[in-house]
Amino acid sequence: MGQGNIRIQTEDFSIEDETVRVRESSRRIGGIVSFLGTARDFSKGQEIHKIDFEHYPGMAEKRLAEIREQALQDYDIIEVTIIHRVGERSIGENIVLIVVGAEHRQDAFRACSWCIDELKRITPIWKKETTPKGVVWVEEHP
């Protein structure tokens, strides 16, 4: 699990290791585009003390694997890695990493952007923010 292209985990990931793994998957790769999502310190004007991510084990991994397969099919790209962290997170921490390797950069940009949009749309992951006013279950619209 710790080495796969699709992972949901509590521990942090290494941006360097994941990027190098995609880079080394093929000598044809000329461009790698990555998206790193981090925990911001405010959302809709509220200061956030803590963030908890919950997921539907099994289904969430399935959706990420489908996103990866769909991206490899629909875009002219070579490799995709998608990792999402869950559990209790603090401000500034890494939350999600998507790394896309392609021969040409435009394909990598398009596929990476599509992957994060699609992740937000179909992956059963939930976010609870603890603010001075109490607990908020976030409903985000991508």
Binding site: G37, L119, K120, T123, W126, K127, E139
Partner: protein, 82 residues
Amino acid sequence: MVNLKFFAVLKHLIGKSELSLDVEKGTSLEELLEKLVKDLPPLKEGLQEGKILISVNQEVVERSYLINDGDEIAFLPPFAGG
């Protein structure tokens, strides 16, 4: 016997994450929901607003779905990953 799962705000509001139920073969999800919402008002609210998706065996389904024995039925509030 089917297994129901509640996540995130629903789990919080309903006060439980899982529930096992006996349902007659051929019952539709729609029919199951009618029975469920009487006992679980937070579910009713979410379903009426159209915010909650329902998955069976980890695939999102329509409410016309006919339930099979052993199905894993999950109630999914709006996603907020990423």
